[in-house]
Subunit: 406 residues, 2 copies
């Protein structure tokens, strides 16, 4: 017997028929003798509709009222799943965040979970009752409903699994697991059986969004074993686990890419202490996250070029911010390029193996792909290239690191 | 300065534009220096949609989950109105039943309000903050959401007005008040300025549904002054008040009618003790409410005829029930008629005046309308007539009792 937390979101709870299908999945785990807690998102489209109501009412809206309105979507699906389970003869009841209570801080709209009082849930689970918990919501210190931010139901699921000391947290999605790369780019992409939390975080940060980043961080901190799997198939998915559990560590687990980046270069900035702070301080103040940064070696000991990347969506604001600081920064020219992509190879194995980055550079060079910027972390090497080479680069790297399937 | 509870339902909160219009009405009371609490129904159609979800999930549904799902509609409108008020610069917040708490008994789906803890609401009102309270819902002793039954927001409003000792409870509806009779039947119908609780109850019981019956009973018990008025006009509506407040008591306040009745006659039942119990006991057991009852004088001291009315919708079940008891009841024949209507004259003034019923009988006789059954209460005389005479009867009585306007 195991204790399992299941999470269903997106199209899995799109309508009443899909919710009935979810009930059958829950029943399968119950029939297998497991203790089951389930958490759900709102029906597809419902949250967007409620958010639109809120913004129609008030452009500068009170986040406490936003939470009251928007959390109602999960209230509905939780109640409906409890009914569907009862209709299958399974003992079940719904729980709202305030009923558990699932306590959060007071940051309405993107609250953090502080404590889940599991006493009553434990009693019910041990009696074989399914606990259906409204996702995305909690109770703030002001005795009002809080929400955890978009995609927050993943976080609800992982936090519940941690609090209930569950053996596994199954996240049902539209895809059947995490792949070595985007299967739309190469049919040779393979489903990964096990991946570490760190790798999963790096995959997410370069655009392979399967799990909400916050939920992976929480799973890593609490050592919750997470499975990503499809609500449309019966195949096992991908397990996201601690490094200790991955016995055969692949050198490289996956190739990720992102087309959401833009490159900015400030040409001829004075090469003097404080110049980086002068550039990146104002950008941070504008809420713009800068990613890769390269400072060229100064040619004349007087001026240098500074290149960095940031989200395409923030480019216009970034340029305006930098132009407003022109007199202070004294750069000669400001250039930017939206036609870039970031490609990354990710793997915990590279910690103990040299030559991973070298193989990447060689592979790209053989294909005639110019590398514009490089950045590395302990388990990731990323390069910025011209966007038109994205597919070519991903396919070549996928082959070069031995990831190709049949 | 007065303290006012406002209730908006039906089409008044149909969409975001209408909710903004509601906010302007609330603002007008605030600007006039009044303390205001508001309670709201769900958006038009929303409750029906949620009920359909529930019945799709499970035909024998758990009423606790029903309440969880269906109460979400009021959660949304309460949050949205608080936002709309804030957008107009008015201090406001939403309150769910469980937050107040508005405590009810444990009869999920049609709970009764037991106690409203008004401490925090009082503090907020005295500070000039508008309290926006989700209608139709409360908190049961099981710490779960309860609902008050269809139309329960009227009851929420009256109960809040009683608990908050409000000077008035304004119920905004699609009509601008209570009329001396249905204006669709005669354009001479006039809006009633003041009506007593008792009269309002009698009007409701014969089909003039403006207020939920339960809310009127509660208003009478708690002596809450209720005003029924239109959310589409600025005219004063009808005040529903205690008899003491109605100085000039009209002999008859209104003429009501109902086409929802059916007549049943059991011919030749044994005229012996216990026969009435033998007929009406099984009907009561089937949940059928019998209204008017007439037992003919026995012709032969052996058998008699029993005539009564019941809701048309229950006729088929009533006939089946009576037929199943045929061997016990020993009636000679069972006849029924759906083409009947009940017409009533209502007025507290008739308590102290004789001749009201006589005028009714005379008036109907003059128009050649045959009376099939008569029943009376302290403030009402009702007759059952052939349905085709309904309009004629109502118009003639409206004139006969001096109710005609210009």
């Amino acid at each position: 017997m195991a204790r399992i937390v299941q999470k269903f979101g997106g199209t899995s709870v799109a309508n009443t028929d899909r919710i009935k299908a979810v009930a059958l999945r829950v029943k399968a785990e119950v029939d297998a003798g497991n203790e089951v807690a389930v958490t759900l998102s709102a029906m597809a489209g419902e949250t967007n509709k409620l958010v639109e109501y809120v913004t129609t009412m008030s452009s500068l809206y009170d986040a406490r009222e936003y939470d009251t309105v928007v959390s109602s979507g999960e209230q509905v699906t939780a109640g409906l799943l409890a009914l569907a389970l009862q209709d299958l003869g399974i003992s079940a009841r719904s729980w709202m965040g305030w009923q558990i209570p699932l306590r959060t801080d007071d940051v309405h709209g993107k609250a953090r979970i502080e404590k889940i009082e599991t006493g009553e849930l434990e009693v019910r689970l041990s009696r074989g009752e399914v606990c259906v918990i409204a996702g995305f919501q909690g109770l703030g210190p002001d005795n009002r409903i809080t929400t955890l931010g978009r995609g927050g139901t993943d976080t609800s699921a992982v936090a519940l699994a941690a609090a209930l000391k569950a053996d596994r947290c199954d996240i049902y999605t539209d895809v059947d697991g995490v792949y070595t790369t985007d299967p739309r780019i190469t049919p040779k992409a393979q489903k990964i059986e096990k991946i570490t939390y760190e790798e999963m975080l790096e995959m997410a940060s370069v655009g392979a969004k399967v799990l909400q980043t916050r939920s992976v961080e929480l799973a890593m901190k609490e050592k919750v074993r997470v499975q990503v799997l499809s609500s449309y198939s019966d195949e096992p998915g991908t397990l996201v686990v601690d490094e200790d559990e991955v016995v055969e560590k692949e050198l490289v687990s996956g190739i990720a890419y992102s087309r959401d980046e833009a490159k900015v270069t400030l040409v001829g900035v004075p090469d003097q202490p404080g110049i980086a702070a002068g550039i990146f301080g104002p950008l941070a103040d504008s809420g713009i996250n800068v990613d890769m940064i390269v400072q060229n070696i100064s040619q004349d000991n007087k001026s240098t070029d500074m290149t960095f990347t940031l989200p395409k969506a923030d480019l216009e604001r970034a340029v305006a911010t930098l132009e407003s600081k022109h007199s202070h920064l004294e750069y000669k020219d400001l250039r930017f390029d939206e036609n870039v992509a970031k490609v990354s190879v990710i793997g915990v194995g590279m910690r103990s193996h040299a030559g991973v980055a070298q193989r990447m550079f060689t592979t790209l060079a053989e294909k005639g792909i110019n590398i514009q910027v490089i950045s590395t972390s302990e388990i990731k090497v990323s390069v910025l290239i011209a966007e038109e080479y994205t597919e070519l680069a991903v396919r070549a790297l996928h082959t070069a690191y031995g990831l190709d399937g049949d």
